[in-house]
Symmetry: C2
């Protein structure tokens, strides 16, 4: 397998990687082990930093560095931190209070948030680490911070869920765009719209973004085996970003509850929901989604909704129930295979190339 | 271009066609001209019969026959005709009455339906015509009718929106399955679920259905150019079904309002809505969808919802407004090109093969 076996080497050249596979950053579901394994295998591992303190982000980056000398990505969220809205918080607690009663949980002291957006402190970590790639979700940070990231020499990626978002990212000078189709698990990167009804499937989205921008496009959403990767290249993508498939690897840091749910998942079992964090994200249906969501107008702004879910989630999980756990998953979960992340990365690439080679009848 | 240029000839062999492109039946948006043009070009043209009387279906079939000696498909809906629910009708009229007032429209005498399911009368037409293919939407007719269709020698197709639906269709003995991803325009073929939140994107759906059934799989939804066709083959499909792209051809019978809306459409402009017919279907956002939908619990069962929309739609259309018109469209509308349907069919195949040939680096 050589670089030129791929229909295009644009992304390989840009990111200086051997395989056009980016492991999707999955905050709360992975640490440095997964990122290191994928980077070592020739893909691009990603370190999700959105739920870490700057110190922990630095520590995770060091751990990847000590495991591999290949490049990796650090990933950050770019939401605007919301003001706590007392009325909205009260409505949300009202909506959840019966679960508190049922499980004997106690409301948290204040609406907390474990998800800070990319800021001065994170930027300093990026400057200290100098990762090969910095990827953003929910748009981009302000121009000054973005400029500082650029000056570190890092290649900059961000996700677009529509052509409009892709054009804005291209105008802002990102080096490549992740076209995140509606099939994708976890949080939608959407930042110019909050209308999930209009979110676009990967097969329709990728070619339209390819037509709209000049930078390489990375297909994401619904890709979990070599067939999806080969399809992405046919659509004009220069690479793929894969999340859910990596949740089946031993390097993923997810609960047995989450792993079991993924193993049992069917194609139709995931939905976009805002009940866990306040922002639309794809996860497997469970009790909270069915009874309060999938989209609740009462959920406080991201990431505040998570605060009042946490205590009932903890109580339920300690009783072995995933009723209140965000079981993040894309729509291709049934295609995932349990194998080490490095082997999976190599297998995915191998399968895709075999498929592409057999394409011409 | 020869048959063996394609990665597989399974669908070509099964349906005795030259190009693995099925023109999607689009009730109310096309007649025999479009079907004949696509079949004559080597694809499979489809005659939508759901909104026709049996006599008109026969007449349309004769017109295709007189235009080409190639095979074609006749398409039927398989819904259970609903009982009129007086209370529900009244609620729906309440929901719409302000539009009646605004436009000076008059409520129809009774809740009518212009969409009959496949029945004895339609079955007799199929027996008289003997089309090469009969395709169904919303499942399948009862076993007796299905058996009669099979005895005509017609190959039988139906749409699946989930793996579960695909397995049921395969168990019932269909000859091929249309995997209809969430990107597709018009009515969702869903028949084992009414939960649109769980509907699956084409890229995730096709390989999972391919893994679940032995019959050829036809990819549908979000495919409007050669890139999408090539991608579908990489996913394991043996062919594609394409709708929206054919709405830009002169053979389509849609209003200028609809054509203009499609030309202006962006990737993010369509949604699944039940406000036009009572069943989820993908169309471009307009006033009725924004104000009453996209999903309204007040919409009567399919196809009854259409009855009370018709008068305001007619009034608005005669004033040049598409506010109450179902502007059916898939998510790849921006990829459509205005050219004759036969030429488009040839161009799509040509582009796909070029793409597939270039796949191997």
């Amino acid at each position: 397998m050589t670089r030129t076996d791929w229909p295009t080497t644009r992304l390989l050249d840009l990111l200086e990687i051997d395989l056009p596979i980016i492991q999707a950053p999955m905050a709360g579901a992975q640490g440095p082990e997964l990122a290191a394994a994928v980077s070592a295998a020739g893909g691009l591992g990603s370190l999700p930093c959105a739920m870490l303190s700057p110190d922990d982000a630095l520590e995770h980056a060091k751990q990847v560095r000590s495991a591999t000398n290949r490049g990796f990505a650090m990933n950050f969220f770019c939401h605007t931190p919301p003001m706590v809205d007392g009325e909205k918080e009260a409505r949300w607690r009202d909506r959840l209070v019966s679960y508190y009663d049922e499980l004997g949980a106690e409301f948290p002291g204040e609406a907390g948030t474990a998800r800070a957006p990319f800021n001065e402190a994170f930027c300093e970590i990026v400057e200290a680490v100098g990762p090969a790639v910095v990827s953003f979700h929910f748009g981009l940070p302000d121009d000054k911070l973005l400029q500082r990231v650029r000056r570190t020499g890092a290649k900059i990626l961000s996700s677009a869920t529509t052509v409009r978002e892709a054009k804005l990212l291209a105008d802002k000078g990102v080096d490549a765009i992740i076209a995140q189709g509606a099939e994708a698990g976890g949080h939608r990167g959407m930042f110019l719209t909050d209308d999930i009804a209009g979110q676009v499937g990967t097969l329709a989205l990728v070619p339209q973004i390819v037509d709209a921008v000049d930078v390489p496009v990375i297909a994401a959403g619904g890709i979990a085996d070599g067939r999806g990767i080969a399809a992405a290249f046919m659509l004009g993508a220069s690479g793929v970003q894969i999340g859910t498939a990596y949740l089946a690897t031993p390097e993923a840091r997810i609960s047995d509850l989450h792993k079991d749910a993924l193993r049992a998942a069917r194609d139709e079992d995931s939905v976009l929901t805002n009940v866990f964090t306040g922002r639309p994200a794809r996860g497997l249906k469970n009790r909270l989604i069915e009874e309060v969501g999938p989209i609740s107008p009462d959920a406080p702004a991201f990431p505040l909704a998570a605060g009042s879910v946490a205590p009932v989630r903890a109580k339920a999980e300690s009783a072995g129930m995933s009723d209140f756990t965000p079981l993040w998953s894309g729509q291709a979960a049934p295609l995932a295979r349990a194998m080490p992340a490095g082997k999976l990365t190599a297998a995915l690439a191998e399968e895709a190339l075999t498929r592409l080679k057999a394409a011409a009848g």
